[in-house]
Amino acid sequence: MPPPPTPANVRVVTLTIDGQDLSARADETIIEVCRENQIPIPSLCYLDGLSIWGACRLCLVEIAGQGRLFAACATQVAEGMQVLTNTERLRRYRRTIVELLFAERSHICSVCVSNGHCELQHLAQTCGVDHVRVPYRQARYQMDSSHELFRLDHNRCILCTRCVRVCDEIEGAHTWDLMGRGSDCLVITDLAQPWGDSETCTGCGKCVQVCPTGALVKQGTSAGEMVKDQHFLPILARRRQAR
């Protein structure tokens, strides 16, 4: 699919990413430019087609002349910008963040229906996480199997809010939201009632498809069987935008 032509009022800028000279539309974010140019940059909360959340902090990059780090998903490119996406420091931070996620809840890959198709699991491998240095919290979270089609396992949720956003922004139901705060945050449907009792859920399953882990899955899948399909998202997002 050819990229859409640049609108007349948007400038084109040149920048370097990891030493590569690139051009980009001024309204693009760093992560979009990276993805276009096959520069790998890890992310979990970012998903093309959904609004920017900026919370997983995995896509942080260094920008020359700036003391702090910037989230590639939330930072627009600028003329002459020099971006580094893969420094030793960034790799170290990313590794630690992935470890923090693994330690926060119980992600036991071997018995997960998403085993082999999980973005968190994949990230652990690409970020070089062969073990988790911080202690596992071992808190106990519930499962919700009340929905006839889908299942929610809070133990595997990383609170990326992709489900919340896709439900609100694409499906328009806003069945999902977050409750609580800090590590007590949970994704909820309606007034934190069982998913199957939800009056607002349309059962469309978009939340399941965008979920990066095994937190939201189809009923009836067993270990390793849950393969997600997100191809609908950019298409629907573009069509919604067009209106």
């Binding site: 119980s106 082999g116 491998q125 070089g128 202690p135 071992q138």
Partner: protein
């Protein structure tokens, strides 16, 4: 798109030649044991099949469930532990391995991250024992205490109780991954197992 699949093995196609093919003096001594695990990682080791024959030219397996020796030698080059640390015996075994092995390998998800055994951790130990030995038992329910090691309050990955040098995650780690790790050690290099395996692999 197969970005979620395990990377292809990059292990050396053949093992390095050793100085003086017959010189067993240069072999790496190896000890293995399983703690709280299913032995699947050891089975995966056996899945090396004919490559085992190649490996024993470089390795001396001195102590293992796979061999007859009953005592862990005082000094061992490479220790390989499968399984999580769940009871008092596991803890003793782990400490003994650490004391006596130059390089300690944490093999498989149970050892690396607690895996299935650690799923009891959110529950108090007493509740776990009750569930297993009283609630689900119809005949003479009782918690065994004699002749079995006491369970630790929490199941822990190996590196939480002793220092670990090499981590090989996977449930079980593929035979190729084990082969790669051992080959690298034989060649005197530090293996990076994320090239060949991952959690849950």
């Amino acid at each position: 798109m197969n970005r979620l699949s395990v990377a292809t093995v990059v292990a050396p196609a053949s093992l390095p030649p050793m100085a003086g093919e017959t010189g067993s003096m240069n072999k790496l001594s190896v000890a293995t044991a399983w703690l709280d695990g299913c032995s699947g990682c050891h089975m995966s080791f056996l899945d090396l099949d004919e490559r085992l024959v190649d490996l024993v030219r470089y390795l001396d397996i001195l102590y293992s469930p796979l061999v007859d020796a009953k005592h862990l030698p005082e000094r061992v080059d490479v220790g390989i532990l499968e399984g999580s640390v769940s009871n008092a015996d596991d803890l003793r075994q782990a400490q003994a391995f650490r004391d006596r092995c130059r390089i300690l390998i944490s093999l498989g998800d149970c050892a690396v991250n607690g895996n299935v055994p650690s799923m009891r951790n959110p529950y108090p130990l007493a509740a776990v024992l009750d569930r297993a030995y009283r609630e689900n038992v119809t005949l003479q329910p009782q918690v065994p205490r004699v002749g079995v090691p006491a369970l630790l309050p929490r199941v822990r990955p190996l590196h939480e109780v002793v220092a670990v040098d090499v981590f090989v995650p996977g449930c079980p780690p593929p035979a190729d991954a084990i082969f790669y790790v051992l080959s690298e050690l034989i060649a005197g290099r530090t293996p990076d197992s994320t090239q060949v395996t991952r959690f849950g692999a």
